[in-house]
């Protein structure tokens, strides 16, 4: 089959690889109909993520038709259309039982590796580093889905693939980010990052009852998309001081909660960003938390900082004095996917949120290497790229 494989920094290629097989009784094989490139895939392209191996198949946002099930899977059969969550969970451990699905004890074959870095291992992920399990990913024509009786959800008739594809990652991620803000009536939510996760966070925040959402970014088409979702937009290239501007727009109070939908590869114009940029290039810092610093500084006293943005290692220079004295609540984590997929499917069916709004590019899998760069460099007004693993390549 064809698959998008990682070969190092800035080196991803579509190659012919063997088809996946059932390896464990609770596996299923899915023939992938649509898949997407995620912002966190760009960390892989940029070489930020340790424990990758040459030849790894990437991709963790995918859906398709069930081809084959292992003897331990009874809730799915060949021919079912399913969306597969990017986290893998066994369903039977302490964490799964408490719906903390992305913290599953039993889905990381390389748990020892994660323990070296984090003390304890989280769940395995598709198409990511070997510390996160090293599972072959879904930017391919087929995928093997472990614990298929827990993860994938069946999609009813009447919905297109594009309408449901983002239930695999970014929609639940944006929703959990908004839910973690503990939104009360009258609350103003500030969201850094108008990428796809930020877009879903905006829409979810309104569904959850936010009074107003302010979205901070600098890319015009992304800010425009945020505006159509009802957000107040804030272009940080246009203002002197984001924190002052947020104060000004919230009657001097500050936003009640702040969402960092940017993560470890943040950009910015501040001294803080310059500091991070130098240090990461010198490999003296692993993550650039420029946005997180702003979120902490901007948040009102007693507010919540919600962090869906991915971080991997160690941060420098966090304004923890501000955080502690202002009594902030921090809520974060990889998305507990299985908690959200069915409720959000209902939101799509009811027409309350249209996930297809974020799609700007639809290309065959063969074009994925080029699209990785287009997505990363925000060219061609790119917001979200959807890949078709079975379409013929557009002639070069």
């Amino acid at each position: 089959m064809k698959a998008l494989c990682w070969y190092g920094k800035d080196d991803v290629r579509v190659e012919n690889v063997p088809d996946p097989k059932i390896l464990n009784p609770r596996d299923a094989i899915v023939r992938i109909t649509r898949t997407a490139i995620c912002g966190s895939d760009l960390h892989l392209l940029d070489g930020f993520i340790p424990t990758m191996e040459s030849g790894d198949i990437l991709g963790h946002e995918f859906m398709g038709i069930v081809e084959e099930v292992g003897r331990g899977v009874t809730n799915l059969k060949r021919g079912d259309r399913v969306v597969v969550p990017f986290t893998i969970a066994c369903g039977k451990c302490f964490f799964c039982e408490r719906e903390l699905w992305s913290l599953c004890d039993n889905s990381n074959p390389n748990a020892w590796l994660a323990e070296k870095m984090y003390g304890y291992s989280c769940s395995g992920l598709f198409g990511y580093s070997h510390m996160m399990g090293g599972y072959a990913g879904g930017q391919a024509q087929y995928a093997r889905v472990p614990f298929a009786d827990v993860g994938p959800i069946k999609i009813p008739e009447g919905l297109t693939d594009e309408q449901v594809l983002f239930l695999s990652d970014i929609f639940p991620t944006g929703y959990m980010a908004a839910e973690n803000c503990n939104i009360h009536p009258g609350d103003v939510v500030a969201i850094w990052g108008a990428g796809p996760v930020g877009q879903f966070a905006i829409r979810s925040a309104y569904v959850l009852g936010a009074e107003r959402v302010i979205c901070i970014d600098r890319i015009p088409e992304r800010l425009e998309l945020a505006r159509t979702a009802g957000a107040d937009i804030l272009d940080y290239y246009e203002v002197d001081d984001v924190i002052e501007e947020l104060k000004h727009r919230t009657g001097g109070r500050g936003p009640d909660s702040c969402i960092d939908a940017v993560g470890m590869e943040a950009h910015g114009l501040s001294l803080g960003f310059l500091y991070d940029e130098v240090k990461t290039r010198l490999m003296m810092e692993t993550d650039r938390p420029n946005v997180l610093r702003q979120a902490i500084q901007a948040c009102r006293k007693g507010g919540t900082v919600s962090i869906p943005g991915v971080y991997g290692g160690m941060l420098d220079k966090m304004p923890f004095g501000a955080a502690m004295n202002k009594g902030l609540t921090f809520r974060m984590g990889q998305t507990h996917m299985m908690r959200y997929m069915k409720p959000l499917l209902e939101l799509v069916q009811q027409g309350r949120i249209d996930p297809t709004e974020v799609i700007t590019h639809r290309v065959p899998l063969e074009d994925a290497p080029r699209m990785y760069r287009v997505f990363r460099d925000k060219q061609e007004e790119c917001i979200k790229v959807v890949l078709d693993p079975w379409a013929e390549a557009i002639a070069a």
């Binding site: 390896l23 191996e53 066994c90 369903g91 039977k92 451990c93 039993n106 395995g124 070997h130 599972y135």
Partner: protein
């Protein structure tokens, strides 16, 4: 407590200290030199590692021939605890079936029941040899503890204890496994193992992790056998680094 059980099993202190100076020295020296030459001739990253290990073995062999303290086997013990989200009775019953241990202890080829409470253990030794010894369950307290020990005079001196305790709240069962044994190649063996793969402590932790996965999820998560792009030399070296290649014969769990 370990020495209590050791005494009951008839392993005396001197036996535990493994007095066989010089006997294995030649084996270490010749074997180690051979490995080193093999490793150098391979001209690859795994080859360098092999050469280094061979060189170390040869060094230990020389030490042993000189009658140095270093290679005298010293009893080693390891203890690890894991919490398994199943009731005590189920966890006890699982660990009471010693013949199923190879399902989660990958260094074991098989455990054959001989007669009541007596078993033959067959383990994968270094260089592809099978190590075999007889063991006896010497204590069995239902839902509390299982203790076994190798028969005195067997090539391998080894005791193991599994203790069970209800975890707080409804978290299931805390399982503590303690192993006392003479490492297969003396101290050199355990150091070698640390170089190439896991030290014995990490290995025990991984065994327990697999037991937990079997008891909770019903299967052991794996990526062995999944597709990938061409790994190339770099990819293979990375696989070895992250212990995904069978350098230590990582078996596909049953």
């Amino acid at each position: 407590m370990a020495t209590e059980w050791a005494t009951r099993a008839g392993i005396g202190q001197s036996e535990a200290l493994g007095e066989r100076p010089g006997k294995l020295g030649w084996v270490y020296l010749l074997g180690g030199s051979g490995l080193a030459i093999l490793g150098i001739s391979r001209r690859s990253i795994p080859g360098i590692a092999l050469a280094a290990a061979g060189g170390y073995l040869a060094f230990e062999g020389i030490q042993d021939l000189r009658g140095s303290e270093k290679v005298r086997s010293m009893p080693l013990h390891f203890e690890k605890t894991v919490t398994i989200n199943r009731p005590v009775e189920e966890v006890y019953a699982f660990f009471r079936r010693l013949e199923d241990y190879p399902k989660f202890m990958t260094h074991l080829k098989s455990v054959e029941p001989l007669w009541t409470d007596r078993y033959r253990w067959n383990a994968r030794g270094p260089f592809g040899f099978t190590m075999s010894w007889e063991g006896q369950i010497i204590d069995d307290l239902k839902n509390e503890a299982i203790v076994w020990s190798s028969i005195p005079g067997a090539g391998m001196q080894h005791t193991g204890q599994v203790r069970f305790r209800k975890a707080p709240g409804n978290r299931g069962t805390e399982v503590t496994v303690r192993l006392d044994y003479q490492p297969l190649l003396g101290k050199a063996g355990s150091v070698l193992r640390s170089l190439f793969g896991f030290g014995p402590e990490q290995r025990l932790l991984e065994d327990l992790r697999r037991a937990k996965q079997l008891l909770e999820a019903g299967e052991i998560p794996t990526t062995i056998g999944q597709p990938s792009g061409r790994r190339g030399l770099r990819g293979v070296a990375q696989q070895i680094l992250y212990r995904e290649q069978p350098l230590e014969r990582r078996k596909r769990p049953a």
